[in-house]
């Protein structure tokens, strides 16, 4: 809201400096956004919060100033002279849609002479940046910026049968507004019609047809209360926002309609002449009378944290327009004014008294009691995860939670249900390359596709060695839940090879639980390569998936090189996490290390070989270490491989003897031979 310094002086004596004024207004709730010098005036831009429609006019701002500086507020008392002819003889108003229009008043002035508005009025409107039209239209604008009540003047000759009907728009009703553009209306919008068609879009804009022009002789003045929600949705649907709709959306003062109507008539009579008909048409219902609010003084100290002198309270409320009903040593009871619909409870009055007294007087060094906070396990686990991954050279990415359909469908291992759809798409979040992929309106069920897009972007920008991770929620709808599952996942995308990335995952798991072992099972995910992929398990909990991106998926995501992706469930990791590790005694005796080299079929998996090795070795086996695999078809025949591994034995009680070690080795050889048809080399 822009206010003019000169205009304000009509209501309050501005003895303070400009800077002092805008500081105090800022500190009492009208944030100063800037001031422009306009001719001999200051155009002061104040931010008005949505609860303070009263400050969308100069009088409201002047009232604030009067309360802050404890100075008088002088308001006009319009008493326009009326003729003897009664308006009811010439005009009628019917409200058909009461929900959209609570109250409608009309006055009629006959015989006006359209011309320029007075110089002083033009100057004030220009200070606000408002265009000058003529003495009637300018007067309606002037009163709107004076008191916050939008008004409209119709050329009465264009109102068919002198009949005003406030009704809902008909389907596809066509309306040409003052901006000379044509709008297609819809039910739910409120129109002002005559006995034929719409002459105004209620609370939003007047019609071109009934606009006041140089030929206008009689003007009908509308001052009405339109429902905020109806006005907002119409303005929004039609993308037609006006100073009028802005005010109706924020709830105008229905009690002030008559004052505003009289005020504008007075100004029009002054500058355009004519005769105001006797009486006013006032249909609909006046606002209910306001209920008194009781404010206990103790609430001030309790909620503001400062002591405010009791004798400050009632006068301040009065300055703001409240009417004091009663007061005693402990409390005051006051009736809020019609223009302050935001004041209904004691806490609302606490704010009023506090802000006028000054929030700057509230101390910033009180004793807040100490309290110990703790870090939830999930937080600590995520921190450890991030530490391991950054140590492993992975950078963290943050990507949008909504994805287009092809990405949504590309990888859905966690969930069979279709994704949740958002009513609104995310706009502007896709790179140009990906613009045609689809509307970004699906809640993602995996982080992997988003990371593949990030990988693609980096590849296209020639950024080498892209290793990224993200931790975020995925959204997994399922039947019968009030709020869908939103588990936290961790996803990785990497330039490195399968085992390099698997090593990172294993290191991560070890960091969280030194005893946990990642197992891999076969999986069947179209996004992943058929062989270089697997389902990851920790004990009997499924941890997630990893694999090399398949050729077709690489094509889909525009990748030029191989990529390994991983997605794991942070909840499972959290379950497995051992935040406090336990010590086991280290054996003081030397280890015995033995290397093995077996020939076996390609089908034998290392996991199953290792479990055979461990199966009968007992507590003396300290570790099994895989060394390498190689193939020599000439010597071993087709479909065969040689697997080298090393086993360390150690006892906690004594140095192992050669015979003990040999027995353990023989057991391994026997078991491997029988379980896997493996042949020991050498």
């Amino acid at each position: 809201m822009i206010v003019s310094w000169n205009w304000l002086t009509e209501y309050v004596d501005l003895a303070m400096t400009h800077d002092d004024l805008v500081d105090r207004l800022t500190m009492s709730g009208l944030n100063h956004e800037g001031t422009d010098a306009v001719d001999k005036d200051h155009a002061i831009d104040l931010e008005v919060t949505s609860n303070r429609a009263d400050c969308l006019g100069h009088i409201g701002v002047a009232r604030e100033i009067a309360a802050l500086y404890e100075i008088p507020l002088n308001l006009p008392d319009p008493q326009p002279v009326t003729g003897s002819d009664s308006i009811s003889q010439h005009c009628s108003v019917v409200i058909e849609s009461e929900g959209a229009c609570e109250r409608y008043t009309a006055r009629l002035i006959r015989g006006v002479k359209i011309g320029p508005s007075p110089q002083w009025m033009q100057e004030r409107l220009k200070s606000l940046g408002i265009g000058i039209v003529n003495n009637v239209v300018d007067a309606t604008n002037y009163v709107m910026f004076e008191c916050g009540q939008p008004l409209h003047a119709f050329d009465f000759a264009k109102i068919k049968d002198g009949k005003i009907v406030v009704r809902e728009a008909e389907p596809e009703e066509i309306f040409e507004a003052i901006d000379h553009r044509t709008y297609q209306l819809a039910p739910g919008m409120c129109v002002i019609a005559d006995s034929g068609s719409a002459v105004a879009l209620g609370g939003v804009m007047g019609g071109a047809e009934s606009e006041v022009s140089e030929a206008t002789v009689d003007v009908l003045i509308e001052a009405a209360y339109f429902d905020p929600l109806t006005v907002r949705s119409a303005a929004r649907k039609l993308k037609l926002h006006s100073p009028s709709s802005f005010r109706f959306e924020r709830n105008v003062d229905s009690d002030n309609l008559d004052w505003a109507s009289r005020r504008v008539c007075e100004l029009i009579l002054e500058s355009a002449g004519g005769e105001l008909l006797d009486g006013v048409i006032d249909v609909g219902s006046p606002p209910p009378s306001r209920q008194p609010v009781n404010l206990r003084y103790s609430q001030l100290q309790r909620l503001l944290g400062i002591e405010i002198p009791v004798d400050f309270v009632a006068p301040t409320l009065e300055k703001l327009g409240l009417v004091i009903e009663s007061s005693d040593e402990t409390s005051v009871t006051a009736v809020p004014p019609s223009w302050r619909k935001d004041l209904t409870r004691d806490v609302d009055l606490v704010e009023e008294v506090g802000r006028i007294y000054g929030f700057e007087k509230i101390p910033d060094d009180v004793n807040v009691p100490m309290s110990a906070s703790y870090r939830p396990k999930a937080d600590r686990v995520v921190d450890k995860v991030r530490n391991v991954l950054t140590a492993a050279g992975f950078d963290e990415a943050v990507t949008p939670s909504l994805v287009p359909q092809p990405w949504s469908d590309a990888f859905t291992p966690w969930c069979d249900s279709p994704p949740l759809i958002s009513s609104q798409p995310m706009l502007g979040v896709l790179e140009e390359y990906s613009h045609n992929i689809g509307t970004v309106n699906l809640l993602r069920r995996s982080l992997v596709p988003s990371l593949l897009e990030v990988r693609r972007i980096n590849d296209y920008r020639s950024n080498a060695n892209v290793n990224l991770f993200e931790t975020a929620k995925v959204y997994l709808p399922s039947d019968g839940q009030e709020i869908p599952d939103q588990p936290m996942k961790l996803a990785l995308v990497s330039h490195r090879d399968f085992f390099a990335v698997k090593g990172v995952v294993e290191a991560l798991v070890k960091e969280l639980n030194p005893l946990a072992v990642v197992q891999v099972k076969e999986c069947d995910e179209a996004l992943l390569d058929a062989s270089q992929s697997g389902e990851l398990w920790l004990g009997d909990q499924r941890l997630g998936w990893m694999g090399s991106v398949s050729e077709s998926a690489k094509k889909q995501f525009g990748l030029r090189a191989d990529a390994i992706v991983v997605e794991v469930d942070l909840g499972v990791l959290e379950d497995e996490t051992q935040l406090i590790a336990c010590h086991a005694n280290q054996s003081p005796f030397p280890p015995v290390t033995r290397d093995f080299n077996f020939i076996m079929d390609d089908e034998v998996r290392w996991a199953s070989l290792e479990s055979t090795i461990r199966s009968e070795s007992g507590p003396l086996l300290e570790s099994v270490k895989y060394l390498e695999t190689f193939r020599d078809e000439a010597r071993d025949g087709p479909g065969k491989k040689r697997v080298l591994f090393s086993v360390v034995f150690r006892s906690n009680e004594a140095t192992l003897t050669g015979a003990q070690a040999e027995e353990l080795c023989n057991r391994i050889i026997t078991n491997c031979t029988s379980a896997h048809h493996a042949t020991l080399v050498g």
Partner: protein
């Protein structure tokens, strides 16, 4: 060849090698000598080894043992020369061929996203002030996102065009969640976590919640339809604006690393009364910090607290803005494009 001759040749070679190694004046000369005697292909020891084939069969074992002994002694002589030369260089002689200014082997430590770094810092500060992190769902219902926060149905914030309301894919009509009494949406603010925590906890409460929030703004340099908020809540007996101002001042001073003035000025939010905007004074001007206020009694009642017995304050800050100001990031979209050249800067 007789074994005697073979041994003689070996011993001569050992002597020659010993001499060459001990006379080598620097590592280059030593290396030449090493190639001459111990070279894997054309070294003299290697060629001498071939003569062993001519030694009579029954003496081969003796010859082999002698060969190994000589091999070891030449190796030892080389190593002792090597250590002589290296200790000589550490005694003050610089080897110009060693360029210590060459770069080390590249070792990339991954970077945490600047948003995460900001969040971690804010969470740490709030933790020191006694606020425990709390989590809540990002998919919320209307009740927790609006109703319980005292945001009436007619409030502009609830406009369907300004929120990501949700429905399930297969539904064709009728079952649209936006149509039902308590539709689901992506939360538009982290204040929802306040409600969920208070519903399940009795006062005193001191929490901080952080996370993603969603509003359908078209992405541009200063807007993104997804962003992050931090929200603090403290409820106890007699919590006032003075407590809020004190905590905000500690918070801002801690974050900025210097004692900064903080001011609060009246504002409007449905879930607080009084509502304030907090600013901190930095670089000669007031900078917007975030919104705050005393928890509205309607909110306390909605979670079953008695507003006559307890009061509380809440505040919320936008993470992106703090992060962008601190790191001088000029376009919010950089944060979500994840170009590694961007990420590596933080």
């Amino acid at each position: 060849m007789s074994i005697e001759l073979f041994i003689e040749q070996l011993e001569a070679l050992a002597q020659e090698a010993d001499k060459a190694f001990s006379e080598a004046a620097d590592s280059d000369q030593l290396d030449l000598a090493r190639v001459e005697f111990l070279g894997a292909k054309k070294g003299r020891l290697k060629s001498l080894q071939k003569n062993m084939g001519a030694v009579p069969g029954d003496q081969k074992k003796t010859a082999g043992m002698k060969l190994n002994a000589v091999k070891n002694s030449i190796q030892d002589a080389f190593e002792s020369a090597q250590s002589r030369l290296s200790s000589a260089s550490s005694d003050g002689q610089r080897d110009v061929k060693f360029d210590a200014t060459l770069p080390g082997e590249a070792f990339h430590v991954g970077r945490l996203h600047p948003i995460t770094q900001t969040i971690n810092e804010l969470k740490d500060i709030m933790g020191r002030l006694g606020f425990t992190p709390a989590e809540g769902p990002e998919i919320e219902d209307d009740y927790h996102n609006f109703e319980a926060l005292n945001i009436p149905r007619a409030h502009p914030a609830r406009d369907p065009l300004d929120n990501f309301y949700l429905s399930v894919a297969e539904t064709t009509s009728g079952n649209d969640s936006a149509m039902s009494g308590n539709p689901l949406l992506l939360r538009s603010q982290t204040s929802t976590v306040q409600i969920r925590v208070m519903e399940n906890t009795q006062p005193p409460v001191r929490i901080v919640s952080l996370g993603r929030v969603y509003r359908p703004d078209t992405a541009d340099w200063s807007h993104y339809p997804m962003f992050h908020q931090i929200e603090g809540l403290m409820v106890d007996e007699n919590v006032s604006l003075a407590d809020l101002k004190t905590v905000l001042k500690l918070f801002a001073s801690n974050y900025l690393g210097d004692e900064v003035p903080v001011r609060i000025r009246p504002s409007f939010f449905p879930f607080t009364e009084p509502s304030v905007e907090a600013d901190y004074y930095w670089d000669g001007k007031w900078v917007e910090f975030g919104g705050a206020g005393i928890v509205d009694p309607n909110v306390l009642r909605a979670v079953g607290y008695d507003p006559e017995k307890v009061s509380g304050f809440a505040f919320g800050l936008g993470i992106e803005r703090l992060c962008m100001i601190r790191h001088q990031i000029t376009d919010i979209r950089y944060l979500f494009t994840n170009d590694t050249r961007f990420l590596h800067q933080f």
